[in-house]
């Protein structure tokens, strides 16, 4: 397999996962009502109280606040929804992600099941036809449900017909690395919320809908209930999202899957093999760090240092992938 093929596959997995996560996040936040004031940490170490409505939080969770503000200025529903879904100038918008995934599948058409091209192409063509008005005037929820159906279709086809060879493992590596990062980003916004809530057990009255939205955005609400019952608190949610072993969108689960798929990649070239081993060791180290994390570490982390560190480590993994397998490729994050 060529380097650029490996890179294309890795990014197909990433982009599809990203599209799904964006759809999940924005769908759930769309139905949140509270316009609340969040404490925004300032670079000089102080904290300013500023009103950041849910739209600001969405942009925040998707990690592109500065570029949004440059382009749109203020946070309005219409602008944010457009920016996240249909804005072709936004490198992270839904339509951009799906377009990139489609381009990448196109370069590999002869190596991949034809159904994979059909679904990616169909997805892109469907999305391309959408206008901003379609989303907000009809039912945004239905639109985002359709997005999830498309990505599920894509994953279903890879699951059911792809041979378990390098191609498959690269797609899955991309998917799980992306998922790790996404879940961590969602958590950072949960941590922001934690700083708002009273420290004692009890009345999360103001932030309850938001906490629930965090869980719903990863479809973790029912699983969370089974483990934590009525203890819906920012701490419990953060712990659940990082450490739960059976929930498929937790950091723990995603890293373990990433590890498994990384080991599944078979390489002939000696030099490449040692680089490959290095990445595996990097993932193992991160898994070990996670295993040593205790509840308390996450609770004693008001500034989100732990999640920040994990996010950084995930970013390094992405870079290591690029250096090892793609070498000449441009990494387009």
């Amino acid at each position: 397999m060529l380097n650029r093929n490996a890179e294309a596959l890795f990014w197909i997995g990433r982009y599809m996962e990203r599209a799904e996560n964006h759809a999940r996040l924005i769908d759930v936040h769309f139905h949140l009502q509270a316009e609340d004031t969040l404490a925004i940490p300032r670079s000089d170490g102080g904290t300013i109280k500023q009103t950041l409505c849910k739209w600001g939080r969405i942009v925040d969770a998707l990690g592109s606040r500065s570029s949004y503000e440059q382009q749109y200025g203020s946070y309005t529903e219409q602008d944010v929804v457009h920016y996240i879904t249909l804005d072709r100038d936004n490198a992270n918008s839904l339509v951009t992600c799906v377009n990139h995934a489609r381009d990448n599948v196109r370069t590999l058409r002869e190596k991949l099941p034809s159904e994979l091209w059909d679904v990616t192409n169909g997805f892109y063509l469907w999305l391309r036809e959408k206008q901003a008005g379609d989303l907000t005037h009809e039912s945004p929820h239905q639109f985002f449900s359709r997005i999830k159906e498309w990505t599920s279709l894509f994953h279903g086809i890879t699951q059911s017909v792809m041979p378990r060879e390098n191609e498959w493992h690269f797609i899955e590596c991309g998917r799980y690395l992306e998922r790790t990062e996404n879940t961590l980003r969602i958590m950072q916004s949960a941590i922001m919320t934690r700083s708002l809530s009273p420290s004692e057990e009890g009345d999360n009255f103001e932030i309850y809908p938001y906490l629930q939205a965090v869980l719903r955005s990863v479809s973790g609400y029912q699983t969370f209930r089974r483990y934590y019952a009525d203890g819906v608190s920012p701490d419990a949610i953060i712990e659940f999202l990082v450490l739960n072993e059976v929930f498929p969108r937790s950091v723990h689960f995603s890293l373990h899957e990433l590890d498994a798929h990384l080991r599944g990649i078979e390489l002939q070239e000696k030099q490449l093999r040692s680089a490959h081993d290095r990445i595996i060791r990097q993932v193992v180290k991160l898994k070990a760090e996670l295993a040593c994390l205790e509840r308390e570490d996450l609770q004693m982390d008001p500034e989100g240092k732990v999640t920040g560190h994990l996010l950084q480590a995930a970013g390094q993994l992405g870079a290591a992938f690029a250096q090892t397998f793609f070498r000449f490729g441009e990494v387009s994050a």
């Binding site: 769309f30 239905q142 309850y208 209930r225």
Partner: protein, 486 residues
């Protein structure tokens, strides 16, 4: 007001009833302005499209109830008619309803505890002993039994109506296994998805947290105060008409949905039989009636319950929500005494009034009622669900005679009430707003340490023009209910 809108109001006569949306002179009440604007602007095709989407979603999600009709071999599974013009309650109005609800449920709980212990309220002559002893729902098995946290009713559903002046009255108390939670929650999610702009711009009080409080309330009942109690929802099974609700609540609260056969009684404890073997159950939220709970204690041919459950209950090893025997307080004859209970147990005047009620076992009440049957509503005291009713103003002479005879034969089986001019709210029918009678089922949750009223509740609509019967078993529909938070 445009001519097009004017034509809609030809359906409206707002003279004799209180209308939720329109004032006497057909101006829109202030708290309804946003909603009215939204629906008045919508063209029929758009309204039809929304309606179709909603129906589709309800079918897909299986938001249905099962209707067993006598002349039908196959039970009908149908979606409950959902009207998408929300009912709106201003904040200050809600606050007083909420206070009234807490006051009422607290008194009812104290009453039930009293009835099964000291019976002070009977000894003090507030309530006649016959009301208790002759009561179908009185459970001698509960006498002297200590229930966890002294909470008899974890969940109650209190039905409210409004008269022609817009005053709220309690119509009845549902204290056994009130249902309607799932329609309340599904109605809300449908509204927030299909009319998200309207919903988001309206500042509606959140109801999601209430589900968490529901779960907390159930957990607070666990005997021995276990940190991680095992909670189950006991359903009669998938054929029950409210099965959708049972599945919904179990899923939302993350508790096990079980049938009687999944539970085992052993050594004065109740166990759940699952793949991991037997696990001790701490709390049962049951959605079946007392008489089916335990064939050893109640109806012996019932296959729905758990033989031995009452033994485990008496031994203090299991909590049952709602406790057996709460029906003693939701009997329609006892209802007449609730205002007295409130005064007796709390020393306060009732915040929410009863509908004026005649207890036909009393001579003077009976004589008045028999003379005025054509103006009264007569209800049987031991039946629920809108069966066995006489609506005087709408009844024929023959029906009135039949009922009069029945009352003379067995007066204690009936109560009579002033016919209330139920308030109305517009529903969307055939692309136009038309007024229909409504009531409101308010849900109160009670745990060991807190009491909570779910903001809003379930507004039920009598879809037949002029009809006063809102029960879903009788073809009633529902609306989402918005309490404004500012």
């Amino acid at each position: 007001m445009s001519m097009a809108m004017q034509s809609q109001f030809n359906f409206y006569d707002s003279q004799s009833f209180y209308d939720e949306m329109f004032d006497k002179d057909l101006t829109v009440r202030m708290h309804y302005e946003g909603v009215h604007r939204t629906f008045a602007r919508m063209k029929p095709p758009e309204l039809a499209a929304r309606h179709a989407t909603m129906q589709q979603r309800m079918l897909e999600e299986g938001i249905t109830f099962t209707l067993y009709a006598q002349d039908q071999s196959e039970p009908l599974e149908r979606t409950i008619p959902f009207d998408y013009i929300p009912r709106i309650i201003p904040r200050h109005e809600w606050e007083s309803i909420e206070r009234g609800m807490k006051q009422r449920v607290k008194a009812l709980n104290a009453f039930i505890r009293d009835i099964y212990h000291e019976q002070a309220i009977v000894k003090d002559g507030i309530i006649p002993r016959s009301m208790i002893i002759g009561n179908t729902y009185f459970r001698p098995e509960m006498a002297g039994l200590h229930v966890p946290q002294n909470v008899y009713m974890t969940a109650s559903g209190i039905d409210l109506i409004r008269d022609e002046k817009g005053r709220y009255f309690v119509l009845e108390d549902n204290l056994r296994t009130p249902s309607g939670f799932s329609y309340l929650y599904k109605g809300r999610s449908l509204m927030s998805e299909l009319f998200s702009e309207l919903y988001l711009s309206s500042a509606v009080a959140d109801i999601e947290r209430s589900l968490n409080i529901f779960l907390s309330s159930l957990r607070s009942l666990a005997p021995s105060g276990k940190r991680d109690p095992l909670i189950v929802l006991l359903t009669p099974g998938a054929y029950n008409s409210a099965y959708f609700e049972h599945a919904f609540l179990a899923q939302q609260m993350g508790i096990h949905l079980v049938e009687g056969r999944d539970l085992v009684y052993k050594d004065h404890k109740i166990y759940l039989r699952d793949l991991r073997g037997l696990r001790q159950v701490d709390v049962i939220y049951r959605r079946l009636d007392d008489e089916y709970l335990d064939p050893l204690a109640f109806q012996s041919d019932s296959l729905l319950g758990v033989p031995g459950l009452m033994n485990a209950y008496r031994a203090g090893n299991i909590a049952i929500a709602n406790a057996p025997g709460t029906g003693v307080a939701d009997d329609k004859a006892v209802y007449a005494y609730v205002p007295d209970m409130i005064r007796y147990y709390s020393g306060e005047e009732p915040i929410l009034d009863n509908v004026p009620t005649y207890v036909l076992a009393r001579k003077e009440d009976r004589e008045y009622a028999l003379a005025n049957l054509d103006q009264l509503v007569v209800k049987e005291t031991s039946l629920s669900g809108g069966y066995g009713m006489l609506i005087g103003p709408a009844a024929s002479q023959k029906e009135i005679h039949t009922f009069a005879d029945a009352i003379r034969r067995d007066p204690s089986r009936y109560i009579a009430q002033t016919t209330m001019k139920l308030s109305r709210a517009p529903v969307m029918l055939g692309g136009a707003m038309q007024p229909r009678h409504i009531d409101l089922r308010v849900f109160v949750l009670m745990g060991g340490s807190q009491m909570h009223v779910i903001p809003g509740g379930l507004t039920r609509v009598a879809l037949q023009e002029g009809s006063l019967v809102v029960n879903s078993s009788q073809g009633g529909g529902v609306k989402d209910t918005w309490v404004l938070s500012r």
